[in-house]
Every structure is written in C-alpha cells, then in structure tokens.
C-alpha cells in the first residue's frame, strides 16, 4: 500500500496504490485529514493502481467527502477507478454521488 500526496495549485492530488483494507485504512484517513487540516478541501484521489478497497477505506473516503463538501468549500473527486473497485463503490451507492474522471489530469482540471 502506498499513498503519495501532491500539493497542486488547484487541489491536492492523492495517488493510492495497492491494497486498502481495515489494516491500513487509517493511513488513508490520515492523508485526507492532513489535507483538510491544512485548509485544502479540493482533493483528487487517483485510484489507478488500487488493487483492493474495503469498507474501511470506503468509510474514510465518505468521511472526507462529507467534510470537504460542507459549506460548498470543496469536493473529493475520483480518478482512474479500476473496474473491480468501481463495482464495489457502485454497490455501496457511492458512485452516482461522486464526480469521477478517466484520469488524474482531467480530475485536477475539473477544479
């Protein structure tokens, strides 16, 4: 599991790779929290290299999504979601609610 954070002009780009389950979802939560604590509420999550995204990771995503969107101050947008992960997010009812993009460049450009 790897998390890399890029502070861009428009937003923070957080690229994830590997497996996100209950053992490490707190690290995703901490990365999202760090951006929000720094006053950045426009976040792109690049999921291109994610191989697994369990319910604990989804909870971290939803928590950040709610917090970023509060008072219309920002958004969490998803980029390059692998097909299997997309199915899981759809099942959880999240996919229709979030803005998704084919790649990180498009997602960053949307802000």
């Amino acid at each position: 599991m790897q998390i890399s954070i890029n502070h861009l002009k428009r937003c923070d780009l957080i690229a994830l790779s590997g497996r996100f389950d209950s053992s490490n979802a707190h690290e995703l939560q901490a990365a999202l929290r760090a951006s929000m604590d720094a006053g950045v509420f426009r976040i792109v999550l690049d999921l291109k290299d994610v191989t697994f995204f369990g319910s604990a990771a989804i909870r971290a995503l939803v928590q950040a999504y709610k917090e970023c969107r509060r008072w219309n101050r920002g958004d969490v947008r998803l980029a390059a979601i692998p097909e299997r992960i997309k199915e899981v997010l759809d099942l959880a009812g999240i996919l229709p609610l979030v803005q998704i993009y084919d790649d990180a460049v498009l997602a960053v450009g949307s802000f």
Partner: protein, 144 residues
C-alpha cells in the same frame, strides 16, 4: 459432493487480511470462478475476517482466525471461524443507501458487502464458542 478442504489459520492481526486475501483468491480462481467473482469472494471474506478481528476479538491480535474453502457441487464455500466474543450480525442494521451521502451512516457496510457479494451468508455460534460464518457462491452464477 464436497471437495478437499483448504485452510489458512492466522492470528487476529489486521495485517493478516492481505494473506487471507491471497489465499482465498487463489482457491476461488482454481475453482473456475471468473476474475470478477474471485474479487467478490475476496471482498466478502475480507469483511468477514475484519469482523472477527475487530468485533469478535475486539482488536486483540492474539486470537485465531481460521478460513476454510471447499467446493460443494457447483458452489464455492468459505467458512470463517473465530474463538472470540459472539457477534450478533442480525443486530447490525443495513446501511440506508437511499439517503443522501451527507446524511448517511456508513456503518454496517461490511455485512452489506458480504450479503450482496455472496449467494448465501449464514452466521452460526458453535457450541465450543466463537463465531462461524459460512458463505457460498455459485461458480459462474449471478454477478459472474
């Protein structure tokens, strides 16, 4: 007819979820499931094992979690067994996915995934204590 059983037994450390994922995916793949089904089984088993580690053992990493896979007819069966505190899955409400995300309580998602991704999920409390979850999925069946 039931096939040979394959088993992995790990301590209740959350770090072991990845090993369980590899084991279950391999067994599911060998059973002839599609990659989509393999992923669904891995997801359901991950959530069942997370429940055992987080709820039954309440985070104690010294417990034991046993995952056993076998074929029964055209079904891939996975049993997850722990010796932790009895966990009442029926007491966990299903998440209300109809609510706007801002108002949604995201708890209960693990059990929701298990029920959605497998064809059947049965919770049992063995006489020797702990919990047993028996999940079945038809090979090449729905969501294949």
């Amino acid at each position: 007819m039931t096939s040979t059983q394959h088993e992995i037994c790990v301590t209740s450390e959350l770090a072991n979820l990845a090993n369980i994922g590899v084991f279950v995916s391999e067994r599911a793949r060998l059973s002839g499931m599609s990659e989509k089904q393999v992923f669904q089984v891995q997801m359901a088993v991950d959530e069942a094992c997370t429940n055992a580690m987080v709820h039954a053992y309440q985070g104690d990493p010294e417990g034991e979690v046993r995952v056993c896979c076998y074929l029964e007819g055209n079904e891939f069966v996975v049993e997850v067994v722990d010796q932790g505190q009895v966990f009442d899955a029926t007491a966990v409400p299903e998440p209300d996915l109809g609510k706007p995300i801002e108002d949604r309580d995201i708890g209960g998602l693990g059990l929701f995934f298990m029920r959605k991704l497998m064809d059947s999920v049965v919770f049992a409390t063995p006489s020797e204590g702990g919990n047993q979850v028996i999940m079945r999925k038809r090979i090449g069946g729905r969501s294949s």
